[in-house]
Each structure stands twice: as C-alpha cells, then as structure tokens.
C-alpha cells in the first residue's frame, strides 16, 4: 500500500543532512557549552554556529536569537516576557482571535494578572485588517502579537503593514512564524517585527529545538531562571544536538524556500482542484491566494472529520482533522469559528499539509482515495439523507 504523509503542519521528518549533522553531538561531541574546557568549547562552537545559521535564515543578528525547546515555549516566552518587562509603559495587549493557543493561553494568564487584552477579529479568509489594529491601539498598548501565517488555514497576515502602524505608535510587535518559517520568506527586517517565534520541526529540523528572535535593545523578562545560558534569558543546559539540527535545517531552508514554494504549491493546487472536482458540497478554507504553499484546509458537508481521517489512515494516508470530535473540548476549531465557518460543516474539516517529499503520484492517490470515503460516509449520514430528501421535495 502507498504511504502518503500529508500532515507536515503537525511535524516534518528530519532531513537526512540534518540528522547527519546532529549525530556526533549525542556521543563524540557530547559537551556542555557552559564549560571552559575543550569538550565544552566544541559544543559551544556548534551552538554558536547554529545561532548564526538560524539568524541568517530570518535576516537577524546571531545575538538576537534565543534558543528554546518548542514553538509553544517561544510564544509563551514572547508574550509573557515582553509584557512583563514593559509593563511600566502600559498594560494593554492586542492579539488576533486566530492565534495559536500557545499565544492565546499565555495572554489569558496575563489578563488574569491585570493586563487588558483586545482580541481582533479576521475576515472570512482569516485576514487581519491592519486598520483594526490601528483602531485598537491606545496609550496603554505595549504589545501586538499577530501570527505570520495561520497554522490551520494557512492565511498569511499583512505583517509588513501592521508593523508600520506599531512602529509609528511605538508599540512592540511579535509574530508567531512557526507555521511559515521554512515555507515562505521570513525576514525580520522586511516584516518589521520586534520578536518572532520559529520551530525547527516545522521545516525538517528535529523536535525539541526552536527559537525566539528578539530585536536588539528590546527588553524581555526570562521565564526560565537560574542559569547563564542564552545570555541569561533562558536557563537550562542547551539541547545541543537538536540546536545543531535546527541550524542545519535553517541553512537548508534558506537555500530551498523558493523551490518549496513553487513545487509544493503546484502539488497543493493539483490536490485542491482534484478534490473540488470530485467531491460535492466542499468548502476551501483560508485565503485563496495569501496562503501557505503547503496548506489545504477543506470542509465537507454531511461527513465528520475524524471518520474521514480514520478511513484515510487505513489506506495509508496521514492527515489531520479539524473536527470537534478529536479535541478534548468537543468544540470546533477556534480558527474556523472566527472566519465564520458554519459549525455543522466545521466538523467535516480536514487539514492536508504537503511537504517537499510528496510526489504527483501521492497527490493523485489521495484524489482517488478520499472521494469514495466521503461518499461512503455520506451514505451512512442522516444529514445527507435529509439533504437529498429536501432536494427532491424542493
């Protein structure tokens, strides 16, 4: 059976060159970068080199890169660290309603400790209107956090336009670029942001290594204390092999982003076209053009996401579902709710995220595999039965 992995938004495989770069740092070069002896220095040099490569990918200076353990940690660090270090200037924070929970939950915690938060709505394609940010900024506003691209629907936000506003008003601007880094150009100067989160396992690096860019001169309060690592901003012995892997993945991404954008988006378009032609009552979520090249988020009426996911899995295809039934809360995705997706169809959502390793044959296999699954489930669905009966009456 063909195996097709279309869940790169969840995680990507480690690139063979990344793995090769990492391996010596588990055993032969096992040192602690904080030690002054040669063994420690060897590890320190490796971390420094990874910092340079990561900085280069996003147009930052090496000293502006702070390594963390995950995208979630980078986002927590950014929101809490920037808010707490700048609270003498004000207590107001602005975020969008479609941010990842690793932004929304720390913001909720800040709200409980006295910060005021404005949650900006998006339009039906998931776009934030920069004018809404401008309107929401008050004298008390210290921080705006809007994601570079949404991890579910792939919509790419107008970060450059928002940063013009934040710079003019003297407000700090963080962007969560975990979903976008490695897939589209990410340049902190072009974007005009003060802080940016990225995670290696989203672009062929290992899990366990991520970074927060903090522009030089911006104050941030450490969230992990008790060590000199990362210039005292983040205590804890470095995950050297993973950081080396992140650096290598950043180096590869810097060279491959243009190719990933063109080849992967062509396959994504082929998949979108094939599914749209073969499946009735289907909705494409997100922005038609301002969308991550590897993202396809589709909702299908009268079928439920998890059932589709399980049947696809039986046929070797790995995808994610955005359905209520797979989440603990039994609630629809907050992103789909925000863009106004009907709750009944939101439960029939699949997130198909492609990668550089997918082939046209993979895509055609999915175009052949999914429609019969949808048809089978619809024949089992009382909602489909009711729709057919209504159509007959009408």
């Amino acid at each position: 059976m063909r195996k097709v992995y279309l869940d790169h938004a969840a995680t990507t495989p480690v690139h063979p060159k990344v793995l090769e770069a990492m391996l010596p740092y588990f055993s032969v070069r096992f040192g602690n970068p904080s030690n002054l002896h040669d063994v420690g220095r060897e590890a320190k040099n490796a971390v420094d080199e990874a910092r340079e490569k990561t900085a280069l990918l996003i147009g930052a200076k090496p000293e502006e890169i702070f390594f963390t353990s995950s995208g979630a940690e980078s986002n927590n660090f950014a929101l809490k660290g920037l808010a707490q270090a700048n609270n003498q200037k004000g207590n107001h924070i602005i975020v969008s309603q479609i941010e990842h929970f690793s932004v929304l939950h720390p913001v909720k915690t800040l709200e409980k400790s006295g910060f005021k938060v404005t949650y900006i709505e998006t339009d039906k394609t998931g776009l934030v209107d920069p004018a809404d940010i401008a309107k929401a900024i008050t004298k008390e506003t210290i921080l705006v956090s809007i994601m570079h691209a949404n991890n579910e629907i792939g919509t790419i936000e107008p970060i450059e336009e928002i940063s013009k506003i934040t710079q003019e008003k003297g407000v700090l601007f963080h962007t969560d670029a975990v979903a976008s880094t490695g897939w589209i150009p990410v340049d902190v100067k072009a974007l005009g942001v003060d802080a940016l989160s990225l995670a290696g396992h989203q672009f062929y690096g290992p899990k366990g290594a991520a970074a927060l860019f903090v522009r030089k001169g911006v104050r941030i309060k450490p969230q992990l204390e008790g060590g000199i690592q990362e210039e005292g901003r983040r205590a804890g012995t470095e995950n050297v092999p993973a950081i080396v892997g992140l650096g290598k993945a950043a180096e590869l991404a810097a060279a491959e982003v243009p190719h990933r954008m063109s080849s992967v988006s062509a396959l994504r378009d082929r998949l979108q076209k094939g599914l749209t032609e073969k499946i009735s009552h289907l909705v494409i979520n997100g922005h038609p053009t301002r969308r991550l090249p590897h993202n396809l988020n589709v909702s299908m009426w009268y079928v439920e996401g998890e059932s589709m996911l399980l049947f696809l899995n039986m046929q070797g295809v790995s995808v994610s579902s955005g359905s209520a039934c797979t989440s603990r809360s039994l609630k629809s995705s907050h992103v789909l709710v925000c863009i106004g997706t009907d709750a009944a169809v939101a439960n029939g959502t699949l997130l198909l995220s492609l990668g550089a390793g997918n082939t046209a044959e993979d895509i055609d296999y999915v175009i052949d595999t999914l429609p019969p699954i949808v048809q089978r489930l619809r024949e089992m669905s009382p909602l489909y039965e009711d729709m057919i009966k209504k159509e007959k009456v009408g």
Partner: protein
Amino acid sequence: MEQYSSKVMEHFAQPHNVGEIADADGVGTVGNPVCGDVMRLYIKVENNIITDAKFKTFGCGAAIATSSMVTDLVKGKTIEEALKVSNAAVAEALGGLPKVKMHCSVLAEEALRSALDDYYKKKGIPSPVKLSPDAGHEHEME
C-alpha cells in the same frame, strides 16, 4: 487521545446494520451536527420483539461503532429488555471507549430510547421512556 480498541475499529471499518427501514415501527434521531454527532435509529418490532434495527450516523469513529453495536445488541430483544440497554453496556461490548468518547455511547443509548419512545407513540401506548432533554431529540436539521 487514547487509541480505539480493536473492537471499535472493527465496527467502525465494517459497521453492522447501516441503512434505513422503510416501514419502521420506531425511529429516533438524536444529537446535532454542531456538537459533532447525529444518530438516527430505526427499529422493526413484531410481537413485542425487535426483529430488525438499522442506523444512520454522522459522527466520529466511536459514534459509528456505538451505533453499530447498539443495533446488534437490541436485535432479538423484547421492548422491555431493549429499554434496559445502557450506554455502559454498549461501551463494554466494544471493549471500552476512550474517556473523551464516552458521550458517543450515551448518544447511542439516547437514540435507542428515542426510537422506543416513537414506537410507543405510534402504537398509541403511553410511553414509559424518559428522554433526556438535552440530547437534541427535537432537533431540526438545518
């Protein structure tokens, strides 16, 4: 999330009793698409015994598997016996359900009770079935 048992996957992949009964003696629809699952259960009754049961379900793997199992369980039972089929019995027959999916077995029990209630009403007999008010029995599609 916890993984599904092999029994759940068996009933999900090849569900029993999928379909409609055109001249059903009782039909119950519960749930709503907004919270994820809708079950419609049909029963055919002869001499107080459920001779056939079929279902249509919109829902996750557990919802389809519990629908399949509850229709299996009630076939051949008297109406009184069927009234005693609980969500716990459905879940147990499936080798257990992940905690977050237990509500699917509750929905299966509700669908059955709703179909039994409909049976009594069609017969003109006062229904002894107490329906849970929040299971969406009166839910209108759309």
